[in-house]
Every structure is written in structure tokens, then in C-alpha cells.
Symmetry: C2
Subunit: 167 residues, 2 copies
DNA sequence: CACTGATCGATGACGCGTCAACCAATCGTC
DNA sequence: GACGATTGGTTGACGCGTCATCGATCAGTG
């Protein structure tokens, strides 16, 4: 939802602004639409989806909470809250970890399994419909490269100063 | 935050998946980072920023609430809630509309003005640093075109069925 | 003028995400 | 093996976004 820049304030040049606005519009349209499809078709949010997919690809549909958190880049408190809500809806359950008494395993319930199995292909259809199918191979390639460059720039900024090359 | 697809479940082909994941990673990295910069540097969220920018570019720093909502694509209830919070922080204020007794004008306060004037150039720097400067002109052009295609596809799905071409 | 329907906006309830604080267990070091 | 630091995880408070509902006003029609 980051700010739609508006044309009259030229903090960015015309070209730069055009690209930035296109990008913002693209991802807002895309994410709101995909989330809407997910809710309408499968009654889960995109956050639920991320958790379910990751668990469904873990051995036994089961994984340590902290691993899950790392995999989907959520902080532990957000994860804990969300798991509580998903458990309440019967999608996942918590289990004790025998080898580390602090830890918890998160595992899919039968409901969780059937939910993700129904949701995944529908979601893939949506992704194809609004994204993959409307882009040329060249455009997709450009996005892959752009993604690498942007992620690298952001990670550079996030690295602590002493591990970062001078500039 | 829409779901990170994971490699082992091939609902999308390798190439498709690559592009989709690159896109998701790009916008999550970008939006969280930009929002963080905005909060750290200017003590406002990206939502605040969108409102402030739009008002600052309206005549007299003043605009009808519903126009504001349309411009930034917010539903009226979200807007109303957010304006309440921004008013509480002294960034904006509500004024009566003389020509339409239902309506409200939203206007920047002095604090709102100074906030956006400080925030905008810093935000532009961030956009340049993480996005504009790391992309080639060709990549930017590809993003502009991709954005148009995606937005068109989404809007097509959102148009009511009877205004939509058969397929 | 009266009626109907649409529009502008606010509100309450509720799920979500962040922050700060906390507890318990584990690891590293001496 | 004791002790401080780190790690895994939960909780409560609070701001945010969505939904449903509501009140008030306006516009169009007869």
C-alpha cells in the first residue's frame, strides 16, 4: 500500500515515477485480488495459505514453529498469534517437542490437509490468470532480474553497518 | 504477503514459479522496507503518507473525503477510521461542507503540512535507493508494461459480468 | 410535494500485525 | 556445575482494516 505518488510533486522524474506507480498499482491490484479469490474460493487468507503450504511440504505435515517462522519471514509473535487463530479454526494443532522442552511442533489437521489440497490449485489458477498468463517471457525475465536487484538493495540496507561495504 | 509458493509443489511450472516468487519477494521486501523508513524518518505510516500527499496536492490542502477515498482506492469506512486517527494526531482536520450537508472536507493542519514536506523527499530517496536506481531503463519499461497487463487482467475480473466480454 | 433510491459519512465489532514484556529452557564459558 | 546470555515461544495492549449497519441528505420521478 505504499504511497501512490502523484504527478504534480516531481520528487521523482517522469520516467522514474511512471515505473514506480506502475509497480505499486500492479502489486496492490494483484494482492488484493488474489486475497479476495482465496477467501471467496477457499475461505482462507493469504496468510493462512502461506502457513498451510509450508506445512504441507514438510515431512508429516509437521514442523517446528521457529522453522516455519523463518521460512515465511514472520516474526515469532505474529506467528504465535496467527497459529492460535488457525488452531481455533481447526486447521493446525500444536504438539510438544520432546528434544527441546521449550519448542513446539505445528502440524496440519485433517481439515488443514483437505483445505490446502483444495485451495492450492485454485490459487495457482488465479496467479496464472492475473499474472503469469498476461506477461510475455521477456517481461517475466525482466521481473526476475528486477526482483534480484531490489532484494539485494534492500538486504544491503538491512545488514548491520559493520558487515556492509563502504560506499 | 501473498503466499510464497514453494518449489516442491509444482502447481506452476518452473519458469512461472520463478517469476511469481521473484515478484512476491520484491514487493514484500520493498514495502516493508519503505514503510520502516517512513516510520523511522518521519514517524508516519505508508497509509498516512498516501493521505498527506494527496491532500498536499489538492487546492488549499483540502479535499472532500469521498474524493480522497477514490483517489487512493480506499473504502469509505477505512478512510473514516484512518482520518479519525490522523485527526487525533493533529495531522488533518475535518470541516463541514456548505454545499452538501452530508459531506466533509478534509484538510491539512500546519503540522500535516510540515510533516509531508519533510517526509516526501526522504521517501523519494528511499524509492530511488531500493527501486529506481537498481533497475535499468529496460527493466523499468518492462515493469510499466507488465503493470498495465496485470491491472487490466484484474480489472477485467472485477467488472460486473454483463459489462465483460465473453470468453 | 411526496416517495424511492442512491450517496456521503460515521460507528461498533472483530480479526490481524507490531511492540514490549515475559517465562522457561538451553548453550557457552569459566 | 553455576551463571549469564541466547533462544523458543506466549501474552496483552494497541493501532489498523473489513464488514455490516446506521443516520442523514440528496437527486430523480411522479
Amino acid at each position: 500500500m505504499t504511497a501512490t505518488e502523484l504527478p504534480t510533486t516531481q520528487w521523482l522524474t517522469g520516467d522514474e515515477q511512471l515505473a514506480w506507480r506502475a509497480f505499486v498499482q500492479m502489486y496492490t491490484a494483484l494482492t488484493t485480488r488474489l486475497n479476495r479469490d482465496l477467501i471467496d474460493q477457499s475461505n482462507i487468507s493469504d496468510s493462512d495459505y502461506a502457513v498451510l503450504v509450508h506445512l504441507s511440504e514438510s515431512p508429516g505435515g509437521r514442523r517446528r514453529a521457529f522453522e516455519l517462522g523463518r521460512a515465511i519471514h514472520w516474526e515469532k509473535s505474529r506467528l504465535s498469534h496467527h497459529l492460535t487463530r488457525m488452531a481455533r479454526r481447526g486447521l493446525i494443532q500444536r504438539e510438544d517437542c520432546l528434544t527441546d522442552a521449550r519448542g513446539a511442533f505445528i502440524s496440519l489437521t485433517a481439515t488443514g490437509w483437505s483445505t490446502i489440497r483444495l485451495a492450492a490449485p485454485r490459487h495457482a489458477d488465479s496467479v496464472r490468470r492475473y499474472f503469469v498468463d498476461v506477461l510475455s517471457p521477456a517481461q517475466r525475465a525482466a521481473i526476475v532480474q528486477a526482483g534480484e536487484a531490489v532484494v539485494a538493495a534492500v538486504e544491503l540496507a538491512e545488514a548491520p553497518a559493520d558487515t556492509r561495504p563502504l560506499r
